[in-house]
């Protein structure tokens, strides 16, 4: 083969990533934090932004919502992935369809669709009202519940596809052997299947958590006035307050959290299988 110079083919990609992603990020953070802010003031700036009540509330909201969403996608996604990994035929194809179509539909369209279903005069309230179960429309939107439902809806496919990739690789013979030896289905699931699917649970939870922490569109459209996430606070700092230094500090925090989680994710996941490719 001689000298291997195939790595040169990485250069265009490197150029794209550096020029349009890493350099703007470095430029934005370095200029706002080190050039436009005096070095002596940087610690005070961080302290100010991080101890501001709005930031602390937003950080708590973001964490709380992200953890809830991760748990919800896990609880709903696990049975779906289990079903997919163990069935074939048109039913499985239909389930794949129901997972993949939302996955590739624009987040803004999916969020809009949910607001139509969950709104005060949306389908759910109409049905419940018509059936006489409720007197007044339920507040399903513009509160924390709305955000959690919306983000669970948007992020569920990531969980399902990640779990499916792990479950597909579990040898069905192990379950057959266990059954032949007289184990009950529940015991088999608890002692064989569940432990073998743990890598998928970890990977799926991490990717959902990573994406949830930085989520912007769905919380912005489905949350109430009190539900401000860190991503929304960053957007407001730029669009409304034109406060670049605060935005930079919050970006550093959000980026750091994301990168740490991604470093863990990259260690426990075959990255080539990310996003169910």
């Amino acid at each position: 083969m001689g000298r291997d110079r195939t790595w040169l083919l990485l250069l265009p990609a490197l150029g794209l990533l550096v020029l349009l992603f890493l350099a703007p990020l470095a430029w934005f953070l370095a200029r706002t934090l080190f050039i436009e802010t005096a070095p002596a003031e940087v610690p005070a700036l961080f302290a100010d932004v991080l101890t501001a009540r709005s930031m602390q509330v937003a950080a708590l909201t973001t964490l709380w919502v992200s953890v809830l969403v991760t748990l919800a996608t896990l609880v709903i996604g696990y049975p779906i992935a289990f079903y997919l990994a163990n069935r074939r035929g048109w039913r499985a194809a239909l389930v794949v369809f129901c997972v993949v179509v939302p996955y590739f539909t624009s987040v803004i369209v999916r969020t809009y669709a949910l607001t139509v279903v969950l709104g005060r005069s949306g389908l759910i309230n109409e049905l419940l009202g018509a059936s006489g179960l409720i007197g007044a429309p339920l507040a399903l939107l513009y509160n924390t519940f709305g955000i959690v439902v919306g983000m669970t809806y948007v992020l569920l496919p990531y969980m399902v596809l990640t779990l499916y990739a792990t479950m597909k690789a579990i040898d069905p013979n192990l379950l057959r052997a266990g059954r032949a030896l007289g184990a009950s289905p529940l015991y088999l699931f608890r002692r064989v299947y569940l432990p073998l699917s743990v890598p998928g649970i970890v990977s799926g939870s991490l990717i959902v958590l990573i994406l949830a922490l930085g989520f912007f569109i769905t919380p912005a459209l489905m949350g109430g006035p009190g539900d401000v996430t860190v991503a929304m606070l960053i957007e407001r700092a730029i669009e409304i307050l034109i406060d670049w230094p605060s935005a930079a500090v919050m970006s550093v925090v959000l980026l750091a959290a994301t990168l740490i989680l991604f470093a863990v994710y990259a260690r426990v996941t075959d990255l080539r299988r990310m996003m169910g490719a």
Partner: protein, 256 residues
């Protein structure tokens, strides 16, 4: 107990697909208000969408930006995927992790950084520039699809071409590209879709003249709920549907 799993999965799938189905139906509604089920069906909101110069401009802008992103991300992603599949160099895992950063890093942060740079370079609102920025987030998608597609290309065919005296470039052009064509086409479709559906970067980088369909949907959701939004959403869902169907056909060809 045996019926519990299919029942649960069935309900979950219904909940997943229902909001999308409802929006599609609403897009065809005949009434002046968003009501489900609609009292009558018509194409009036699609006519309103395509008849409105603002929405039409947004459509063209989305198509142009998606086109640039698709071409750039597919080209760059193909070369990188080939290098990662065939090359013998260290730190491949790390390189892949860095290449995937654009999809995990918070979009708001990415968008603000791009906006910061674009504002200083005077490029806010430039369609080609926004397309290039979208290529950054479409690139990881292309890379993931092509890593798996290229794995399936028989290495021996390339070795045959190389040993018969073809250069790397010629081997790529005349052996690898044709063999990976279905995968490349899938990758290009999803690169386009990634850009076509992207909102946050477009929100910061486009201006009133170059705003994309998702940006216009976002703006009109903040002002008033007009049924045109349902029609535009149905249109975007339709584009997703067409691309997924094309991908399904291409997958069949990949296996054949």
């Amino acid at each position: 107990m045996r019926a519990a799993l299919p029942l649960f999965v069935g309900c979950a799938c219904l909940l997943l697909i229902l909001p999308i189905a409802i929006v599609v139906v609403l897009g065809f509604s005949g009434g002046t208000f968003l009501r489900f089920p609609p009292t009558s069906l018509s194409l009036r909101w699609f006519a309103a969408f395509l008849g409105d110069p603002g929405w039409r401009a947004a459509l063209w802008s989305s198509l142009a930006i998606g086109g640039v992103a698709c071409v750039v991300a597919t080209g760059v992603g193909f070369l990188a995927a080939y290098a990662l599949v065939r090359g013998a160099f260290p730190a491949k895992r790390l390189i892949l992790a860095v290449a995937l950063l654009p999809i995990v890093s918070p979009t708001v942060v990415t968008a603000i950084a791009m906006y910061y740079a674009s504002a200083r370079l005077g490029l806010v609102g430039n369609v080609v520039w926004v397309g290039l920025c979208h290529a950054v987030i479409a690139f990881p998608v292309v890379l993931l699809i092509l890593l798996s597609a290229l794995q399936a290309v028989d290495l021996r065919l390339e070795q045959a071409a190389l040993s018969l005296g073809a250069s790397r470039a010629r081997t790529l052009r005349t052996v690898v590209v044709p063999l990976a064509a279905p995968g490349l086409a899938s990758a290009a479709l999803f690169a386009f879709l990634t850009s076509f559906d992207e909102l946050v970067i477009s929100l910061f980088l486009t201006n009133a003249a170059t705003q994309t369909l998702p940006v216009r949907i976002w703006n009109s959701l903040h002002m008033q709920v007009e049924p045109t939004v349902a029609a535009v959403s149905a249109f975007l869902i339709g584009v997703t549907g067409v691309i997924l169907a094309a991908d399904a056909l291409l997958r069949r060809r990949r296996k054949a």
